[in-house]
């Protein structure tokens, strides 16, 4: 129930979330002349990268897995004196400086969460907000809604058979903050994503025993190849316009030469080609496997009071299980059909950003790539701001652009061949995706 009468914010745009993606959206919309109200449920910027936030997945040892040049905002580079892979606290200070530098804070309402965003028919939106955790609700009308609420905060529900019988502790990866939680424990890490690998490595350094359970074999890319960050070498292959097949072969050769045959270490062989899954970047996992500090094991079959049985019949006896099984996107404030969600909760958006049937609804940052997220969020934000501006300035041309965009083949910007898993719903190629965004941005240029 609205406690105050509806306030019309006329041409203002509502941005939801003040993490990296939300900040990029606020900045771009302001640059394009829009008034902006950004709502942030926490009391500070930084989103997932702010370890003080209760939804933040970072732990004390988190570092970037894409290198600085492929991770920074293109118009606000990170200090070149920073290491190739900065630490999470550096990323947070970077986002704080970005917000201060461009004067974004004055447009952000902190400690305010969005309860609902509802279309009112003419392309405008009623957005209901309240103080985080309760309090009076307030509804305001906006010209557009840009959701930047992140997609790495709501852990994918995991069902472990016999979990109720297990006497040890089960810890979701999002609740893992510090290696002290692992010290002296016998730890089973479930999940072969980057988070699962990072935690397995930290466990290897601190825990008494470590088992790492994965469902399939992966390509473990080292963080450095030929003395350079691996993603920069990958970008070089793109620069030389090598076709995908050749890059897959090169990737295969490089991994073979640097990491070697992982099955020798007891790891499963990859069941897919390179570039068909989200890249795993971890130089230390295999090192610790090779030192006997991590024992790779199969998928979990069921839990008992003091033991876990794996699908290959092996039994292990951990007293702590860390589940790093990924996250699912959640948009509690939007009706599912607004984002064309399917029954699994997978949104269907043009370029993973534009709602197909609601031209004034966009999502920023709902992508994963073989590079960093901030450059993608930046160019998405430029595209969204330009799109909203063109809609006002020249509706006829905006319609023509929309028509043209609807013919853009999905394979040109999305990875269509990936391992079928919710982890790859939003997987794109950094370079192909940016090319598509660049084209769209040019089309949206004011005449």
């Amino acid at each position: 129930m609205a406690d105050t009468p509806l306030a019309d914010r006329t041409d203002a745009v509502c941005v939801i979330g003040a993490g990296g993606s939300g900040l990029a959206a606020v900045k771009s919309l302001r640059e394009h002349g829009f008034a902006v109200d950004c709502y942030e449920r926490e009391t500070s910027v930084g989103g997932a990268w702010n370890w003080r936030h209760d939804r933040s997945p970072v732990s004390s040892g988190t570092h970037l897995i894409s290198s600085r040049p492929l991770t920074e905002f293109p118009d606000f580079p990170m200090p070149d004196s920073w290491p190739d892979y900065p630490r999470h606290s550096q990323v947070l200070s970077y986002l704080e400086r970005y917000a201060a530098h461009f004067g974004l804070r004055e447009h952000i309402w902190f400690g305010t969460e969005v309860v609902a965003a509802t279309p009112v028919g003419d392309g405008r939106w009623d957005v209901t907000t309240r103080s985080t955790g309760g309090g009076a609700e307030r509804t305001q009308r906006y010209a557009a809604v840009v959701a930047a609420n992140g997609h790495n905060w709501s852990p994918k529900p995991v069902t472990l058979e016999g979990a109720d019988d297990f006497r040890g502790r089960i810890l979701p990866a999002s609740a893992y903050k510090d290696p002290a939680q692992l010290r002296g424990r016998k730890v089973l890490v479930i999940g072969g994503g980057n988070t699962g690998c990072d935690i397995a490595v930290e466990a290897a350094q601190h825990a008494a025993a470590v088992w790492h359970s994965t469902r399939r074999g992966y390509w473990y890319a080292p963080k450095f190849v030929l003395g350079r960050p691996a993603d920069q070498i990958n970008a070089l292959a793109r620069r030389w316009r090598l076709p995908l097949r050749l890059r897959q072969w090169l990737y295969h050769r490089t991994v073979r030469l640097t990491v070697g045959d992982v099955t020798r270490f007891g790891l499963a062989a990859p069941d897919h080609r390179p570039y068909e899954s989200h890249p795993l970047v971890n130089s230390q996992l295999i090192y610790y496997v090779g030192h006997g500090r991590i024992t790779p094991v199969a998928d979990v079959a069921r839990l008992e009071a003091f033991a876990v049985t794996l699908t290959d019949g092996m039994r292990v006896e951990p007293d702590l299980i860390v589940t790093a099984t990924g996250y699912l996107p959640r948009f509690e404030f939007l009706a599912p059909q607004l984002l064309d969600m399917d029954d699994d909760g997978r949104p269907d958006l043009h370029l993973h950003a534009f709602a197909r049937r609601h031209p004034t609804l966009a999502v920023i940052g709902l992508v994963q790539s073989d590079g960093g997220l901030f450059p993608l969020a930046h160019w998405q934000s430029v595209a969204v701001a330009r799109w909203l501006r063109l809609r006002i300035a020249d509706p006829a041309r905006a319609g023509a652009v929309q028509q043209k965009e609807s013919q853009r083949p999905i394979a040109s910007w999305s990875r269509t061949r990936t391992v079928p898993s919710s982890r790859h719903w939003f997987e794109v190629s950094f370079v192909d995706y940016l090319r598509a965004l660049g084209e769209l941005i040019d089309r949206l240029e004011p005449a």
């Binding site: 293109p74 118009d75 004067g103 920069q232 970008a235 660049g438």
Partner: protein, 258 residues
């Protein structure tokens, strides 16, 4: 708009220690920082002589950055962007001579609060022609990769005491053959991002940047150049240095106030 930045992704400019000179206003103001970018052969010192202190007196936190030793255009653009984003607020960029060429490239990448191109060396060919006429002996070696030398009359107006002029000339360094070569062409930087207001200032008596080049630069940014007759190329060192700076700051006051 091209989001593909292979240069930065595959061969990032190596980090160096940068020389930045700063003069801050005595009391904190809400005015944006101004970053001055020196031209060919000059360093941050060229602005520290007069302009930094005067800008700070008028309430603008004033900084200037020296180009890295033998850095090319790309490295200089990188350095200026690095310094700009290290400052607490969106900066106003003021580039002089070849520094304006750097600023023009920076604008295509960093959304400045505003920008000033002072005696901008955007058209290398025209500048080369002017230099050959004014000082053939100093210019010819540059054509074959040698160091470009300038004389008193190229940089300063007739009112400049010879002693001081020579002292300044003595501080100029060789920018490197690569940078000289890159400047010989015409500026082809893409449109600025973030649509900043841009002002062009110069002198009709500049013997480095011809009047026609000033007009072209101004037209590109939608205006006419502000002219200071009687001054040489080095607006920030010549005897009348207060006039162009006050005009720039007046313009800024107006642009930022509105």
């Amino acid at each position: 708009m091209n989001p593909i930045r292979f240069d930065d992704w595959t061969a990032p400019v190596p980090a160096v220690r940068r020389e930045v000179l700063s003069v801050l206003p005595e009391e904190e103001t809400d005015r944006p920082p101004v970053l001055f970018v020196p031209g060919l052969g000059h360093g941050a010192w060229a602005f520290a002589e007069h302009w930094l202190a005067h800008a700070a007196e008028r309430g603008y936190p004033a900084h200037s950055v020296s180009p890295r030793d033998r850095g090319d255009l790309r490295a200089q653009v990188h350095d200026v962007v690095q310094v700009a984003v290290s400052l607490p607020r969106q900066v106003v960029l003021v580039g002089h001579g070849a520094g304006a060429r750097v600023v023009a490239r920076v604008l295509a990448r960093y959304p400045a609060r505003a920008a000033v191109l002072a005696a901008p060396l955007l058209d290398g060919r025209a500048a080369l022609g002017a230099a050959l006429r004014a000082n053939p002996a100093g210019t010819l070696p540059a054509l074959v990769g040698g160091r470009l030398r300038v004389n008193r009359r190229q940089l300063f107006g007739p009112g400049m005491p010879a002693e001081r002029a020579d002292a300044y000339l003595g501080r100029l360094v060789h920018p490197g053959a690569r940078m000289q070569r890159q400047l010989a062409g015409r500026d082809a930087s893409p449109a600025p991002v973030g649509d900043p207001p841009v002002l062009v200032v110069g002198s009709p008596d500049d013997r480095v940047v011809p009047r026609a080049s000033l007009d072209r630069a101004a037209v590109r940014h939608g205006g006419a150049p502000l002219l200071f007759p009687g001054m040489g190329h080095d607006l920030m060192l010549d005897t009348g240095w207060t006039e162009p700076l006050d005009a720039i700051l007046d313009w800024l006051d107006k642009e930022l106030g509105g």
